[in-house]
């Protein structure tokens, strides 16, 4: 059986599938979910007004922190709020809300939400999927802080209780002054899957705080129509920093997300508001806007399975293993296949951190979570990506990648490839080639550092030569000519109708497929996968002023890809030799006997 297992190569993937491609972008395990109706609106910030309903949360350390504040206006507000403090835990304040449109102010301090650790309702939880009704009665099963806005007894998912339009705001000078921290339990595992989860909580507004050290998501918005996450820092989580799933009318701005094992920011299964459109490019309606964020040192900076209608602009995405990833790789994600992201005005650079090698292949990620070094830079990638890639579209349609600064990504500035429908759970034969169409890459500046020095990408564009209507136009490269990796079909220009090849370059697809077997636990280093090789720094790279030559994580030495072991020839020869042995022995013996016989005759 062992030999059989070897020979049959049972491979466990992730997604990639990126194969065509993996393991993730990415996705997450959740109950069956649906889009909200889309009739909501993005909430606006409500400043402090003593006459409006509000609650105040604080810690014993808050007073000292307030006294140390240097910003007079912030200090004054905090001094006004401190006497009103009635809660020591955020969840206690949430549970006390009686009117829609309430503001909760969280004064400086670190919040561990101890009452959420193991309340009686969590006894016997088998860690399977948690349906919404149970989230209402016992959100502590998975989250430290739960905002559940819908009555589970009605048929819709719209927010209809006192938690609608809830605003939770940290009152520190910096977003790091209020910290929601998970951390680890006595067994060394994470204490909670999620930090704060807004579930069917239309109008939710979260502002000015940090969430860290959770097993799944630090900040999670689910089945919600209308939300804002502003000035939040999500870091050091095993999977996602900020995750929005089956949501609409979202705004994520001025955030920071770092050191997350899947993605810093994940706008996945976003309301598919442009699903019927065949227009690429600026549209009038997006499901979520992400802007002003610094997203760095994650396995994936941004990702989204079915990351539909994401308006991603003016962000700084750097030092991840891969920068921005959108995919159609995982089933049970409403809104497949992925479509209509608009990625513009961003800096996407230096995404060369090889966390696969540094932390997975080294065995660090095999340790108990508490021993891995989360919080000090450890990132355990949950999903495979080609290290050194700026933007990866794995099975997306009508995405518009326009006017970005894309530089210093040592494998590829941007990569595009096809994923067949079956990989996302669509088995209709006619749906197998319905991805990677209509994507446009225009007016991007490639290989130029903002300071003016040259920092080329490995290649500017990588494409599997598949799809209809894909095009590249008016891009400018520091190498003089835009570089790509085409083998048969050159990048079509956008002056025409774009690519016309529903069938791609099978050789390129085949190169990606082995990487789909990546599994952080079961298959951390798939045979034949080259994605986890640290890409070589491109020639002619110049250091920016004040910069030293970068040494990305995990790039200390060249990774030698695993080589498929040839079938042991010794075994085969042994079998053959064994079969011929009787004949050979018999013939040799017969020849010997005859020789003896002849000698005796002639003696």
């Amino acid at each position: 059986m062992k030999a059989l297992r070897r020979i049959l190569s049972v491979a466990v993937t992730c997604a990639l599938l990126l194969v065509g491609g993996a393991t993730s972008a990415l996705a997450h395990d959740e109950r069956a979910s649906t889009f909200p109706t889309g009739t909501g609106t993005t909430p606006t910030y409500r400043p402090y007004d003593a006459s409006k309903p509000h609650l105040v949360v604080c810690k014993p350390t808050s007073a000292a922190a307030i006294n140390a504040m240097t910003d007079p206006a912030v200090k004054a507000l905090n001094k006004k709020l401190l006497p009103q403090c009635a809660f020591q835990h955020m969840q206690a304040a949430v549970d006390a809300v009686t009117a829609q449109g309430t503001n909760i102010y969280v004064l400086p301090g670190t919040y561990r939400e101890e009452p959420s650790s193991a309340p009686p309702c969590t006894a016997g939880y088998d860690e399977t999927a948690v349906e919404y009704a149970r989230i209402v009665t016992c959100g502590e099963l998975v989250s430290q802080v739960t905002i559940a806005g819908d009555d589970p007894n009605d048929p819709d998912i719209a927010c209809d209780n006192a938690l609608c339009r809830l605003q939770i705001e940290g009152t520190g000078q910096r977003m790091e002054d209020v910290v929601l921290r998970g951390g680890f339990d006595a067994t060394g595992d994470f204490v909670k899957y999620n930090g704060i989860k807004a579930d069917r909580a239309d109008g939710f507004y979260l502002r000015n705080m940090t969430a860290e050290l959770f097993a799944d998501n630090a900040i999670y918005v689910h089945e919600t129509d209308g939300y804002v996450l502003e000035r939040v820092n999500a870091r050091h989580n095993d999977l996602y920093g900020i995750l929005a799933f089956t949501t609409d009318h979202g705004l994520i701005k001025d955030c920071e997300a770092s050191y997350n094992g899947d993605s810093g920011v994940y706008p996945g299964s976003q309301a598919d508001v442009n699903s019927t459109s065949t227009t690429t490019g600026p549209l009038s309606r997006y499901a979520v806007e992400v802007t002003g964020c610094e997203i760095h040192h994650n396995a994936l900076g941004v990702s989204g399975t079915a990351g539909n209608s994401v308006y991603f602009h003016d962000n700084d995405v750097h030092d991840n293993a891969a920068g921005y990833v959108a995919d159609s790789f995982v089933g049970n994600h409403p809104g497949m296949p992925q479509d209509h992201a608009w990625i513009t005005g961003n800096r996407i650079h230096g995404n060369n951190s090889n966390y696969f090698k540094e932390f997975v292949h080294s065995g660090i990620c095999d340790k108990k979570p508490v021993e891995r070094g989360y919080g000090t830079g450890t990132v355990c990638p949950a999903f495979p990506v080609p290290v050194g890639t700026g933007i990866l579209l794995a099975g997306g349609n009508y995405n518009f990648i326009n006017a970005n600064l894309i530089y210093d990504n040592w494998r590829a500035g941007a990569m595009l490839f096809w994923v067949p429908g079956a990989i996302r759970g669509d088995y209709e034969p006619g749906q197998q080639y319905d991805t990677s169409n209509g994507n446009h890459y225009t007016k991007n500046r490639l290989g130029f550092h903002p300071s003016g020095v040259t920092q080329p990408n490995g290649v500017d564009f990588s494409w599997d030569e598949q799809g209809v209507g894909n095009c590249w136009g008016d891009n400018v490269s520091s190498t003089g000519t835009v570089t790509d990796d085409h083998e048969v079909i050159a990048l079509p220009d956008c002056s025409g109708s774009g690519s016309v090849s529903p069938i791609g370059n099978v050789t390129k697809t085949a190169r990606n497929v082995p990487c789909a077997t990546y599994d952080r636990v079961e298959e951390p280093n798939p045979v034949g996968c080259t994605w986890f090789n640290s890409p070589v720094m491109p020639a002619n790279r110049e250091n920016a002023p004040g910069e030293t030559t970068p040494v990305p994580a995990g790039s200390g030495t060249t990774t030698t890809p695993p080589v498929a072991k040839p079938t042991a020839s010794g075994g085969r020869l042994a079998a053959t030799g064994g079969g011929l042995l009787p004949a050979a022995a018999g013939l040799v013996l017969a020849a010997t006997i005859m020789a003896v016989h002849r000698r005796r005759r002639h003696a």
Partner: protein, 201 residues
């Protein structure tokens, strides 16, 4: 002094030498050796072309361009019973009798076979036949949501000239089973590593 010459003496007839059995023994040994070799080598004479499986009971589609050889992709539906039709052709010059059909998959395969109809399948040289193999889609709890389990081939047990062996026969394209998300895998736990296949063996 006379010179006496010895008179020629008639040579006494030698006793008839007993005919040696050694050549016969040698010939017999050679024949036996050759026969033994032929018997031992008989399975090597058997030849099976690549198997092209089809499946019912769960979604199934073939994508020729997905991977170096394309792929047959089977959709996971929890505890669905799947029937694989497995055509087998004997391309060798000896008759064979197919006696077993197995897939790999480690300790907890997504496709767990339970029975095979049509066994033993006797095939003369050049003859084709078919097996009907049943199984159940299960064990998703041991796979993460993005996993893809790939079977590159099957192991056929067969006999020829009374000698039984097993051989791995490739599928024409890998058979892939896509692991589902949590929503379609009711017994999966959300704790990563809680149900590692690595601890099963």
């Amino acid at each position: 002094m006379s010179l006496l010459l010895d008179a020629p003496v008639a040579k006494a007839a030698e006793p008839r030498r007993k005919r040696s059995l050694l050549p016969l023994l040698a010939a017999m040994l050679g024949v036996v050796g050759l026969a033994s070799s032929a018997w031992l080598q008989a399975p090597r004479a058997a030849s099976f072309p690549e198997i092209r499986p089809t499946a019912v009971g769960a979604p199934f589609v073939t994508v020729p361009e997905f991977g170096a050889r394309g792929a047959h992709i089977l959709g996971y539906q929890h505890h669905a019973r799947v029937t694989l039709t497995v055509p087998v052709r004997n391309d060798g010059w000896l008759p064979v009798s197919v006696t077993s059909f197995t897939l790999a998959g480690g300790h907890a395969p997504l496709l767990l076979l339970s029975s095979a109809q049509g066994l033993p399948l006797s095939l003369s040289p050049g003859e084709s036949g078919s097996l009907t193999v049943s199984g159940v889609l299960t064990n998703c709890r041991y796979f993460h949501m993005r996993a893809l389990e790939t079977y590159d081939g099957a192991q056929l047990g067969f006999s020829t000239l009374g000698r039984s062996v097993t051989r791995t026969v490739s599928f024409d394209r890998p058979l892939m089973v896509k692991s589902p998300m949590l929503a379609s895998c009711p017994d999966r736990r959300i704790a990563r590593g809680a149900d590692s296949r690595g601890v099963l063996g």
